[in-house]
């Protein structure tokens, strides 16, 4: 599996993503500067976490017009798996590859901690190595992760199984207390209609080795490997 990781000015989780990819696939990931214009030869593209362009104006607002974006749009529309983590999720909503938006955390605080998530759809290319309803622990580190969308969009996401991960407590219940940012319906990650684009606020790439406090994120990359090899 050949994975490309796009670096914007201000990305900070690109190296973590590349390490997680290499640990799982045994092949180094390709680093792609945002000014490049081709994604030829890649099986998967990762938009990493960070603060692209300083999050000026809105998170993801300027990254959305980077020179790499037209190639990214073509790659996604052709069914190529695109994984947007944290800031990458914000970029994907700004690109309209995913519906809704991510706004300031309801509690105003930047939240940096390990959270519990429930796998809501274990049949996507990003989640096939998990079980439906499984609890996993990923870290979060964001100030603007409050997912908002219209009630119709939310109903559609739920109805079509496009909520991939939800914030839950240790018992797996999506409570207000376990929701770190006020996201609608405790949503942590969503899929596009074709299920080849995932946006996720938590960081599986920072939970890809037990020494980091959790190894649960590793299987997200194993899922991609299985999906691409299939």
């Amino acid at each position: 599996m050949r994975v490309g990781v796009v670096t914007f000015p201000g990305s900070n989780s690109d190296v973590d993503s590349m390490r997680a990819v290499e640990a799982v696939t045994g092949r180094p990931a390709r680093s792609i500067w945002h000014k490049e214009t081709s994604l030829d030869g890649l099986d998967v593209v990762v938009l990493p976490g960070g603060f692209a362009h300083g999050d000026y104006l809105r998170a993801g607002a300027m990254a959305r017009f980077s020179p790499i974006v037209p190639a990214l749009e073509r790659f996604a529309r052709a069914g190529g798996p695109v994984l947007g983590l944290c800031n990458g999720f914000q970029v994907l909503t700004e690109m309209h590859l995913l519906p809704g938006a991510l706004v300031r955390n309801a509690g105003l605080r930047f939240r940096s901690e390990i959270v519990h998530l429930r796998v809501e759809n274990a049949s996507s290319p990003f989640t096939n190595a998990y079980r439906d309803g499984e609890l996993v622990r990923f870290p979060i580190a964001h100030g603007e992760g409050n997912y908002v969308a219209s009630p119709e969009t939310l109903d559609r996401l739920e109805g079509e199984g496009r909520v991939a991960f939800r914030y839950v407590d240790e018992a797996g219940r999506p409570t207000t207390g376990s929701n770190p940012n006020g996201s609608a319906r405790n949503i942590a990650g969503i899929l596009n209609e074709a299920c080849n684009v995932l946006g996720l606020m938590p960081h599986p790439e920072r939970a890809a080795d037990p020494v980091l406090g959790s190894g649960d994120g590793r299987r997200l990359f194993e899922s991609l490997l299985a999906a691409v090899s299939a």
Binding site: L57, A61, F65, T93, E94, G100, A101, V103, R104, V148
Partner: protein, 90 residues
């Protein structure tokens, strides 16, 4: 001509900053202040005929300056503050 663009969160979107300011106002002892909302003010200068500028600024708001999913925008054009054109520009 100069334009002022106001970007505000849509009515249904929670504004934690506005809420925090509202609490601070109450803590200062002021009564009767409600619905505090925080937005952005962007000022810019455009050259060219007014109708072209108006079209351009609306397009820019929709594309970049505001996210129509969660934000509204309002544009105020002010021709009086027009600055003299730079050399080489129309």
């Amino acid at each position: 001509m100069r334009a002022r663009v106001e970007v505000t969160l849509k009515a249904g979107i929670r504004d934690p900053q506005g809420h925090a300011i509202e609490r601070a106002i109450a803590n200062l002892g002021y009564e009767g202040v409600r619905n505090v909302r925080v937005g952005k003010l962007i000022t810019l200068e455009l050259t060219g005929p007014r109708e072209v500028s108006e079209r351009r600024i609306t397009e820019l708001c929709e594309k970049l300056l505001a996210n129509p999913v969660v934000e509204d925008f309002a544009v105020l054009m002010d021709e009086r503050e027009r600055e003299s054109p730079r050399a080489g520009e129309p």
